[in-house]
Subunit: 486 residues, 2 copies
């Protein structure tokens, strides 16, 4: 999980400009769309079927087996890496082995970034190694310089031009733990905006305390960017204990010199694939409910919570629906999105490819916030569909899921399409621990609780089934999108 | 903290043979030594002074400042490294700045082991990196081979000679979490004994799941050894998630090949120093109570809980006693022991150097089990001193410390001397989380709770003060030691 736009306007930005730094799962303004057309509703037999489906899902371990398979047999799968290619092949094979009716891929092309090595050390009287990782998009290079510490991005942005000439800018900001991940807003801003601010002040390199909530020697990577016209500098995130250590050394009052050596950078373009599997609908097979997760991960861990879990939840929910005696009216389409981490490339490619079919998309939802239990449900549906939404919410409620209209937003890979009119649902996960592991070497299978994962599958299965079997739609309709002025 | 002998017989072994693998803080048989001589007792004014001292210690942050200084300004300080030399200079300066009356060093010579680099990867269809660290004492080397998994040391020891020819032996055993650290018994046996068992079966390299209780990508190092006559092989510990991953790959049923590259090994000898500071006693300055911790750490972390905390607790307790209006009768001697981790070199050197003065040593205690709260107190004192021991226990009780006669044992660096007759006290710490961080990169300052550290200081201050001010002794007397047959 990289980012979730705060508002639909931000989602538009994400789609049109391709980069936004924002907090996950913050509220959107779900302005009531005037009711037109027939009311959307769900038959009682569908509700009964969904209730049984929910209970079956809670006892099913398909999703855990899927994420175990992906993280074990493929492991790390950074966009453009050899693991990316293996992940695509894995996903095609997994969809088939799970009995999906139709499996195909759609190309996604993006610039390729590679990480080869990274190290850093404090020089001088207090010499010691520091644990860090290059930010995605950083150039390589070896830099030696005095560290200048800032407590916030604003403080660095306020540093006069040229004031950091020959020095290393360091932001030591600790992001807050929150169930909804809201602390990541500032964390990701510091990751995305810090390097450019450092360059403007004349710095030779950029360091930050990892955007995370843990206290382990596992730094958090993640994409950064450099504003147009600036000359990129080596940029990296320190593990939390290392950031604290560096701040203590700076606080001793004498200049602290650090040597930083990153071997990484952009190396051309790569074409990967969105991998798609469908369980065909009973009576309206050309209309689809889209659920998914992203197939790529960062390279440091095995991408269990980000986002093997999301892929597994969607694949597992789709399989359970496919196995039903009576399928829903519409098709369940599961998408394993390509390269979310470096700029929503898979989600944007999907939206572009399928924009013409937007009205055939009943609704979409992506799971990309780990494997914690879902605690809240909402949609961006218009008033005429809110009765059906409430029916879905009622079947979700026994899972401990609250109906929270007006809160949440579409998952990252859904957001480009949602910004252009796709109806979306949000099944919000408890992310209290998510940023302990996110983008670190520690994102591994053992961080997933199988029971919590099954609860996720149950929720996605209920949501997808009922949406796919509803009479009427949830408001997908192409909007005229005007990029807001900056 | 490397090891604590299970019994005094094992302590003898540690002293005479220099290597023992055993659990920390397990019980010793405190056989009642026949009462002879006068009863040891403590005056009420001493008890009153100790009570005030205890409360002052709880409000004092000297120890936290000491461990912050050591871990920040020196950082990692593996025996024989440049950090070792800096740590010795730091300790001398710190004793002086804390106002110790006398500060000196005593040489400790040992073989030097160096770690330069280490890496491993799974080869073939499921290629991915594995996180591991060389065991202390491992030779370097690059090995590629099929992994053969064992669930226990016994299973590997039972493998027929030659059955692992050209292969990599892998023990995947998960040690148990326990307040008293008892799970480390098997964990350290697998680390110490696994490599030799692997060699006997013909293996080219040895891998183990780290002896730890965490689930992070931070492997646990620690000393291993190779039995005489065997040709050492590269030996390393995988982080827990990596061990689980490797086991899952093996469970897929096809041969799993791993490439392991360690650059490390023994490189001659090195002479470091035990660093000693004294607060002179009021009336019997040539008699001493010895408290301490070990100054060396492993190289991966900054040695906060192992054993910066121990050094800080002892230094902080000594300082508080030195600052008293009326000092105790005897001298408080604080020892920052050299190279505990690779074979109790500092503790053995101290015992050898001071054996002739054993009766001048009132009692000894070492803190080397982290920075968790002390929950239990005991000694190996003879019956005639048990009244005084109970008086000490009564002043400790408000700290949440239970008197548990017959349990516990001397700290590792005290154990060689204790095996030869030194009276010892045990202030047992809650080690529930200790093996989450022990010997990993994650052993950093943030893992220490300042309040828990202050409770430790209060306990050591009370213990040392009352023992130093008692009328009578706690049984230090040279024993004739006969090494047990193997």
């Amino acid at each position: 999980m990289r980012l979730v736009p705060t508002t639909l306007a931000a989602a538009v930005l994400a789609f049109t400009l391709g980069a936004v730094q924002a907090a996950p799962q913050t509220d959107v303004q779900t302005k009531g769309v005037p009711t037109k057309g027939v009311l959307t509703k769900i038959a009682q037999t569908s509700v009964d079927n969904a209730t049984q489906l929910r209970e079956r899902a809670l006892a099913d371990d398909t999703a855990y087996e899927v994420v175990e398979s992906l993280t074990t047999e493929v492991g790390p799968r950074m966009a453009g890496s050899e693991g990316d290619a293996r992940a695509v092949a894995w996903a095609v094979a997994k969809f088939k082995s799970l009995g999906y009716d139709k499996v195909w891929t759609e190309p996604v092309t993006f610039p390729k970034w590679e990480r080869k090595s990274e190290s850093a050390e404090v020089l001088g009287d207090h010499s010691q190694k520091l644990t860090l990782t290059a930010l995605g998009g950083s150039p390589g290079g070896t830099v030696e310089g005095e560290v200048v510490r800032f407590a916030s991005l604003k403080d660095l942005a306020d540093a006069p031009a040229g004031s950091l000439k020959g020095k290393i800018a360091f932001i030591d900001f600790t992001m807050e733990r929150a169930k909804d991940g809201s602390g990541y807003g500032m964390g990701s801003q510091i990751r995305g905006g810090g390097p450019s601010a450092a360059i403007r002040a004349g710095a030779s390199a950029y360091l930050m305390r990892s955007a995370g909530t843990d206290s382990h020697r596992n730094p958090h990577t993640g994409i950064t960017h450099f504003d147009d016209g600036l000359n990129p500098i080596p940029s990296a995130a320190l593990a939390a204990p290392d950031a604290a250590q560096l701040s203590r050394l700076v606080a001793l009052g004498k200049p602290v010199r650090v040597k930083l050596a990153l071997d990484c950078g952009w190396t051309g373009t790569y074409t990967s694939q969105n991998v798609i599997g469908e369980m065909r609908g009973r009576s309206k097979p050309d209309e689809v409910v889209v659920i998914g997760g992203h197939l790529d991960s960062w390279d440091l861990g095995t991408g269990a919570i980000d986002d093997g879990a999301g892929v597994a939840i969607a694949m597992g929910a789709g399989k359970l629906i496919g196995d039903m005696k009576q399928r829903p009216a519409r098709t369940i389409r599961v998408v394993a999105f390509s390269n979310e981490e470096q700029g929503l490339y898979g989600g944007r490619a999907y939206a572009q490819q399928h924009m013409g079919d937007i009205r055939k998309h009943q609704i979409g939802a992506e799971s990309d916030f780990g494997a914690g239990r879902i605690y809240a449900f909402s949609t961006g549906a218009p008033e005429r569909a809110l009765g059906a939404v409430k029916q879905i919410a009622d079947v979700l409620a026994p899972l401990g899921i609250e109906y929270t209209p007006g809160q949440g937003g579409p998952g990252p890979d859904i957001s480009p399409f949602a910004a252009n009119g796709l109806a979306w649902g949000a099944l919000r996960q408890d992310g209290t621990d998510y940023f302990d592991y996110h983008h670190t070497p520690d994102d591994t299978l053992d961080k997933i609780d199988p029971k919590a994962l099954a609860q996720n599958v149950a929720a996605y299965a209920v949501f997808a089934y009922l949406a796919a079997d509803a009479d009427g739609d949830f408001g997908s309709e192409r909007k005229q999108v005007t990029p807001p002025r900056e």
